[in-house]
Structures are given as structure tokens and as C-alpha cells.
Symmetry: C2
């Protein structure tokens, strides 16, 4: 269990050429209650279960606990999840500060949505903002994956 | 992930003398939605996370997935759970069919409540009912631990 310090942004330009790695992600939620979200994720061929607590006021810091589970268990658990399961591709993009942006390109009912996240060592950590980074949406519930699964981008 | 076939009963007599093992259990729920309950449990010094699907019509059969986690993780996750965390002692009592009753004696806000459960190899499996076994309550939501945690025995 650790504290996750994270900021989230829209994406306004071409980021893909900076990618050093990408994954296919499929994920659903067993609970979308902000105080205790429970996520099931398949990342390429690996399964995970992740539990997050509520964020602080700014939405930057949340408790997070994650455990790897088998691909087969994750597939079965995804079937128990609330509709809709999210499908996205994640692009890993390094920064000059030895940090990484994770940019999610959503598919299905969320096609057209792009979100960039960066995990920081401290809340006030300064990092360089690349040209393709758009407006900050940290802490805006609409952009939580748990919200997106219930109210997808095609309905916005 | 397996299918759990289980029947649940009240307790009307002295069962303790038949006990072959007992545990201390502390458990909470990250989700009490019947389609996808997520339970965190500490059983003596071990931690577990358990996910159950909705029961069939009779309430006898439910999907169940369980994974052992560290005691420390379980302690931390219990703090994220919905109020109230359940505390109980579980007594294991063998039957003549090589099955086992698990009798739960609840504490705290559920003091006075006793529930016996038996896991069966098939839905129509016949088993001997000991004299201390009371009325069947299989499938009655009020007796689900997920319900008891929200609406404890002291309020009934």
C-alpha cells in the first residue's frame, strides 16, 4: 500500500513519437465508490487487482494497493465488473526529470478521449510540461476511469 | 474462481463441544453490492481478499474468488472498508458426511447472533442436521455478512 501522487492532463498535440513502450489495457470496476474503488485490470497478458482510497482535497494524492493476479482470474473478474469495461492503449513517455507520462488512448465508447498522467515523488514536484500536454484535470471526477466507465466520452 | 454451494442456518442449541478448530475473524467490505461483493478478512494472523458474485435464485450457489494477502495489507484495507467491520469467532464442526459446519459467533454490534454454514459438493447434497441446527436462512439477504455489516443485529 502506498500513497499515489499523480497529476492528470488533457492532450492537445502529437505525443506518440516520444513513446518508449506501450501496453494494451482492459479494465473494469467492482466498486466505483470514491472512498474505495476496486479495479480489475488486464495489461497485455498480466492481471491485477487495485484498490484506491479517496483523494485529498486537490485530488493529487490517493492511497493505492495493487496485487498481481492470474490472467484467467482477471478475465473472470472482469465479467463481474460494473458496465462498461474500459479498453485503452497506454503509451509511456519519459520526461527530462526521469519521470514518465502515461498517455491513455481510449477505445469503444470513449474513442477520441486522450488523458496523460504523471506520478510524482512529492505534491509540489516541478516537472517540465511538453508541448503536447493540454489543460490540467487533476481531481476532476469526470476524468476518473471509474467515472468514465459509467459515463463514457460519447455521452459528454 | 469457483462456484460456492452453501447453505446457512440459525443455531438453537449448544454446538461448542463439537468444535475441532476455531479462528478469530475480522472482516469488512469494500463493496456490498450483491452482484460483486469485495471482502477483506483477517483470519487469526492471515489476510485475504474475497470477491463474490450474485447468488442463483435460491441463494445456494455463488461465484467466489479468493486470494491470500499479507496481514499488514489486510489491516490497511480494513480501514478503507465500509462501516462497520465485523468481528466474530468461527467454530469448525465436522459432520458425519466428512463435511464441516462453520458456526460464527458475532461480537460488537452483532453480539447474540449465531450463524451456521455448510459448503456442499452439489446443490441437492443430503447431509445430517445436528440437533443444535436451527431454521434455514439460505439466500435471506438480511443474514449476508455484507448486510450485517450495514444493519447489525442490535438494530433488528
Amino acid at each position: 500500500m502506498h500513497q499515489e501522487i499523480e497529476r492528470k492532463f488533457l492532450v492537445k498535440g502529437d505525443f506518440k513519437k516520444h513513446t518508449i513502450k506501450k501496453y494494451k489495457i482492459e479494465q473494469g470496476f467492482l466498486s466505483t465508490v470514491p472512498e474505495r474503488t476496486v479495479r480489475v485490470r488486464i495489461k497485455d497478458d498480466k492481471g491485477f487487482i487495485t484498490i484506491k482510497g479517496i483523494g485529498n482535497n486537490s485530488g493529487t494524492t490517493r492511497f493505492e494497493w495493487e496485487k498481481e493476479i492470474s490472467f484467467k482470474d482477471a478475465k473472470n473478474l472482469l465479467e463481474l465488473c460494473e458496465p462498461t469495461v474500459i479498453k485503452k492503449r497506454r503509451y509511456i513517455i519519459p520526461t527530462n526529470n526521469n519521470l514518465f507520462f502515461e498517455v491513455d488512448e481510449f477505445f469503444g465508447k470513449n474513442k477520441g478521449l486522450l488523458l496523460a498522467e504523471i506520478e510524482l515523488p512529492s505534491e509540489d514536484f516541478k516537472f517540465e510540461k511538453p508541448g503536447w500536454l493540454g489543460a490540467e484535470v487533476t481531481g476532476q471526477k469526470k476524468y476518473y476511469n471509474s467515472s468514465i466507465s459509467k459515463n463514457p466520452f460519447c455521452n459528454w
